[in-house]
């Protein structure tokens, strides 16, 4: 602003209308170009390559397929990549993890938000430390073996719960503090037990923050391959695990048309959910950050 006197020549005499009209053309063109170059090219590569016959897909250039055989490639990969089993495997680990994390995390958050003591402050700090600290992937496998849970869905669910409870506790504790405690006190005076107060009054009020947490955690778990490789790799099919197998097994080396068909089918459920609940998801994922 100190430089203002230098610039009036360029800024002041310009009337608002003509200033807007050239920008009104430049900006949309720039926006569309950025979408085409940054997103259009990779997405076209996926669709074109997924539709090619094997011989043409060896060099994954951007040329269109000489004849489209997307459905043929998709049906091959759905069968060879055991996609149906993988889809249900992904659901099998995701749904219980999310349910457990939301309920138990909210219960803990409620007490952590309402009571104050030095001990509970320490408990809270430890409970949310998992947001940034990386889980000990190697020793978790050892522990699961000792518990007899290695390679089982239960073990995987436990690992995901241990990882994402911290996210729920962080979000929900902050949210509970914004709920007036008087709401609970009225019910307590009427003789409701703490369990009833929590599940009938507090828990329903948490809906918006739980929606945010659900979206985040579903995204993490649905797309996770790193932790799954350690815990259930080779024992249970999930979509990312099977993609990894399809892409890295010698049989499929360079079989780009199958890899990309797999990616296309695998992304479909997420894209459908995203198309339906787009606004919710976007505000959910950014919500935690902007608040």
């Amino acid at each position: 602003m100190s430089a203002a006197p230098v610039l009036p020549v360029t800024a002041a005499p310009r009337p608002p209308a003509p200033r807007r009209s050239p920008r009104g053309l430049v900006q949309p063109i720039a926006a569309v170009t950025s979408v085409v170059v940054l997103l259009g090219v990779p997405f076209w590569l996926i669709i074109a390559t997924a539709s090619k016959p094997h011989a043409e897909a060896l060099d994954p250039d951007l040329s269109p397929p000489s004849h489209w055989q997307l459905l043929h490639n998709v049906s091959t990969v759905v069968e060879d990549g055991r996609m149906l089993k993988a889809f249900f495997g992904s659901l099998l680990v995701m749904v219980p993890s999310v349910a457990i994390v939301l309920v138990l995390g909210s219960m803990a958050s409620w007490v952590l938000a309402r009571r104050t003591s030095r001990l509970l402050a320490a408990v809270y700090a430890i409970a949310i430390s998992g947001i940034v600290l990386p889980p000990a992937v190697v020793t978790i496998v050892l522990l699961l073996r000792q518990l007899g849970l290695a390679g089982t869905p239960v073990g995987m669910v436990g690992v995901y719960c241990g990882m994402y409870l911290s996210t729920v506790i962080f979000f929900v504790t902050g949210f509970v503090r914004t709920i007036p405690v008087e709401l609970e006190e009225a019910a307590r005076v009427d003789g409701a037990s703490p369990v009833r107060v929590f599940f009938q009054i507090v828990f329903p009020l948490l809906r918006p923050v739980l929606a945010t947490a659900t979206i985040l955690i579903c995204l993490y778990i649905w797309n996770d391959v790193f932790y799954a490789l350690f815990v259930i790799g080779g024992r249970l099919d999930t979509l990312p695990l099977n993609l990894y197998q399809v892409a890295s097994s010698g049989l499929y080396l360079q079989n780009w048309e199958l890899i990309f068909s797999y990616i296309l089918v695998m992304s479909l459920p997420l894209l459908i959910v995203f198309a339906v609940a787009q606004r919710r998801i976007i505000s959910g994922v950014t919500g935690g950050a902007v608040k």
């Binding site: 602003m1 007490v111 600290l133 000990a136 995203f274």
Partner: protein, 314 residues
């Protein structure tokens, strides 16, 4: 816990009128019973804290798939990793990768946010489009870019079309520059998230402030540099912190594009951990896992403090 509840419940039933007076003392104990914490803490203890504690133990043993007994070997794992140069090299690669991702992701995210700031129909659609990579699997994104960046892949085909002569750069084959390329891919996947957070930040800047600056004759660049950027500081902090810590823990994109190559120059700590674990060298993998934990913890303390302050404001 029940023993804590009993003495309070009894007088409450007898002396209903004094309830209100007794509340301040009671509120902290029986209204919010501590056992509500127990299930969550039990899961955290078993699946998060115990493995972390094990990390500090098994990193100093000779645990492997080749023998049944586990014995203490002191610092031998770290000495081996240090003397082979792997420890420092992988640590350096991980930190460089994290810094590059943080820079690129924020640069792209901020540029996109500024480009798509106005609420027009085209912009709204573009914002949604840029969010699609965020919800895609990082592994899938990695494979897409592996194909795109191959010597015979899409990028070279495009460049050959635009430029004179045949372009056949091995984008993923340089021992010096490939780390930059994979960081760009990682940033591409997450730039839509940064963009949205910057857009949310831009929305909080009041029109009055911008109008005042415009009336003072500020140019577009001055408006950005001296008004918008300082007011975006919280968004920058959040984006940089999450990008840094998230990519320290990176694996998927790099595994899918280079698997740590060429010549180990993109071998992140997690890639090393996965590879040595697969070879049955569990103790070495644990030692590296502990290293990652300590480095992230060191970086994270200021971040946790920041998040807690933010959360208190909320």
């Amino acid at each position: 816990m029940t023993t804590m509840l009993e003495p309070h419940r009894a007088p409450q039933e007898e002396l209903a009128p004094s309830r209100a007076g007794a509340r301040p003392g009671r509120r902290s104990s029986s209204d919010h019973p501590l056992w509500f914490l127990l299930p969550a803490l039990a899961i955290l203890a078993v699946f998060f804290i115990a493995p972390t504690v094990f990390n500090f133990v098994y990193a100093f043993t000779d645990w492997s798939s080749f023998k049944s007994e586990i014995g203490f070997v002191g610092l031998e794992n770290f000495r081996d990793l240090a003397s082979s140069g792997t420890l420092l090299a992988d640590l350096r690669i991980t930190v460089v990768y994290a810094i590059l991702v943080a820079i690129f992701q924020n640069l792209f995210g901020l540029l996109l946010a500024l480009l798509l700031e106005r609420d027009t129909r085209v912009n709204r659609m573009a914002r949604v489009a840029f969010f699609v990579p965020v919800i895609m699997s990082a592994l899938a994104v990695g494979y897409v870019f592996q194909a795109l960046l191959e010597p015979d892949g899409g990028l070279n085909a495009m460049l050959s079309f635009l430029l004179p002569g045949q372009v056949d750069v091995a984008w993923l084959g340089s021992t010096r520059w490939t780390i930059v390329v994979v960081a760009l891919v990682h940033a591409w996947k997450w730039m839509g998230l940064s963009m949205l957070i910057y857009l949310a930040g831009l929305k909080t800047i009041s029109d009055d402030v911008l109008e005042a600056a415009r009336l003072d004759g500020a140019s577009g660049w001055q408006l950005f540099r001296q008004v918008k950027l300082p007011l975006l500081a919280p968004a920058v902090t959040f984006n940089v912190a999450t990008a840094l810590l998230g990519s320290m823990n990176g694996f998927d994109v790099v595994q899918a594009t280079t698997e740590g190559g060429p010549g180990g120059t993109t071998e992140l700590l997690n890639i090393f951990i996965f590879r040595t674990f697969g070879q049955g060298l569990f103790a070495q993998a644990t030692a590296m896992s502990l290293t990652l934990f300590l480095v992230v913890a060191l970086l994270a303390f200021p971040v946790i403090a920041g998040l807690r302050r933010r959360e208190r404001v909320l």
